[in-house]
Subunit: 306 residues, 2 copies
């Protein structure tokens, strides 16, 4: 099974704390990287964690607040200085591209690679061979988007005994069936479903960015394997969460429960809390499969039980 992992680069909210950098999360899968938000210091975290900035990369930006994008210009500049040749795809609110282009001109940052911009919109915004990116509106103080990374489903497990019993000889015809296409044996058609188990769904990772919980997000994140959700505040500061269009850890847990996700990672913690153990405890009472993200944490997203 291909390894799929999530790496937390920064887990603070708008101001950095001593042990938490500004928001940035990476999804890694077979040499491809999806970076979600790009707070100040992101390029340095890539260096420290040995992630490599010159891989195939898609950058998803949730919204145009400084703390979620201030690392972007430096990342693009360093990529160019290391002669990156691979295209980079940037997804985010319409205004993002204008800011990046304007700043690159003013700061004389020339790019060594092709920068493709895709404006966020509800639905599937990007398709790659191995995965797609799904998007929905978040509920924050400015235009904001939440994302789901979704692996392409794979055909079911091939049952070689059934193939033999049906008279299909080992070799090219097995491979054709394994790839989901029918073959003909002695004038008879053998269909993939006769020799394959049920289709294996891809794994999914959801990322909320800054948001209030909402029915839209409960739908977007339905059944994801790992949900990374705004958990800026503890319940005692619920009024601040409502006021500033963020979520408490319990609100994150309630949404995770409603959406039926497998695991919930809390992130984007306010610097006002010395530790986040109370936030995790409160959330676990609602949704036990909850943990607090921390800077430098690698989380494996295992295959689903078939």
């Amino acid at each position: 099974m291909t390894k799929l992992e999530v790496v937390f680069l920064g887990t603070s909210s708008a101001t950095p704390a001593k042990k938490r950098n500004l928001p940035a999360v990476v999804i890694r899968r077979e040499g491809e990287v999806v970076l979600m938000d790009c707070g100040e210091g992101t390029q340095r975290r890539f260096l420290e964690l040995g992630l490599g900035i010159n891989k195939e990369m898609v950058v998803l930006i949730t919204h145009l607040h400084g703390d979620h994008v201030n690392g972007l210009l430096g990342l693009l500049q360093t990529m160019s200085m290391s002669q990156r040749g691979k295209r980079l795809t940037l997804v985010g609110p319409e205004g993002l591209y204008l800011w990046v282009k304007t700043s690159m001109e003013m700061l004389q940052i020339g790019l060594s690679f092709d920068l493709q911009f895709v404006a966020a919109r509800p639905g599937v915004v990007l398709r790659r061979e191995a995965y797609l990116i799904r998007c929905a509106r978040a509920n924050h103080s400015v235009e904001a988007w939440s994302y789901v990374f979704e692996e392409t489903p794979r055909p079911g497990v091939f049952d070689s005994r059934k193939a033999v019993a049906l008279g299909v000889p080992e070799g090219r015809k097995w491979s054709t069936l394994q790839h989901g296409r029918s073959v003909t044996v002695d004038g008879r058609t053998v269909r993939p479903r006769e020799v394959l188990g049920p289709r294996r769904e891809g794994r999914r990772v959801g990322y909320s960015g800054d948001t209030r919980p909402s029915a839209t997000l409960a739908r977007l994140f339905a059944g994801v394997d790992l949900l990374i959700f705004d958990s800026t505040y503890a319940t005692r500061d619920a009024d601040k969460a409502a006021d500033r269009r963020h979520s408490t850890s319990v609100e994150a847990a309630e949404l995770a429960k409603k959406a039926g996700v497998r695991r919930l990672a809390l992130t984007h913690f306010s610097a006002r809390y010395r530790t986040v153990s109370a936030l995790v405890k409160q959330a676990r009472e609602v949704f036990p499969e909850t943990f607090a993200a921390s800077d430098g944490m690698f989380v494996d997203v295992p295959a689903k039980a078939q």
Copy 2:
């Protein structure tokens, strides 16, 4: 004597290295801070080094390349989120203010304090009670400026025995003389120079930013107590230094010698060198009072011998 110290926040050149952050240097003097350049991650270094971002502050930007300014937006945002009230003065190339204003609008960064901008120009650009900032053109690939921080000179040491001998009674009249003004005793005028030693010159710290060495800079930095100079390259890469409008460590040392400075701090090291000991060694052959700056280094600038 008031403590004057220099703190190196970032000593890399355009791309960060594992142990070197992007360019930023602080001068601290009695609760006032002068920040020179503001590479990505500067606000985090302030936090880690306990420097405090809400002090009286002047920010001097040498030029508009991303690696020297990418930390500015995040620093301004965090200052505002912590309700900074004190004015902040920003000095730099004309285009700097446009980029900051444009980005603040696009990223919706509102300021809680008054941001004053002063365009760099040759000569004295800023005067405070305790110091002034002097400026001259550097020689880089874009408009670039070098700066000198210069303490206000103080009157000489007060000789109380001379004052007594001249019949000046201890008290308000001593204080008046100490502040450089004459007093009258029994109808006779006593002048400050009769009771004070020679005027004590202020300490001076020079910062080159990215530049080739030049006669202009040798004049600007003449006799400074500490010169912080571009030392991107080793001598074997002198062609790159010339090509990219930077300096080698030896060129920095030659300028330091010509300018008659007290000490030379090399900085802005290219990430290509695993260690910078060769650069320091080469420079010391020309100017022995040379050292390599490193991230998190505090350097005391002692008073001059009187």
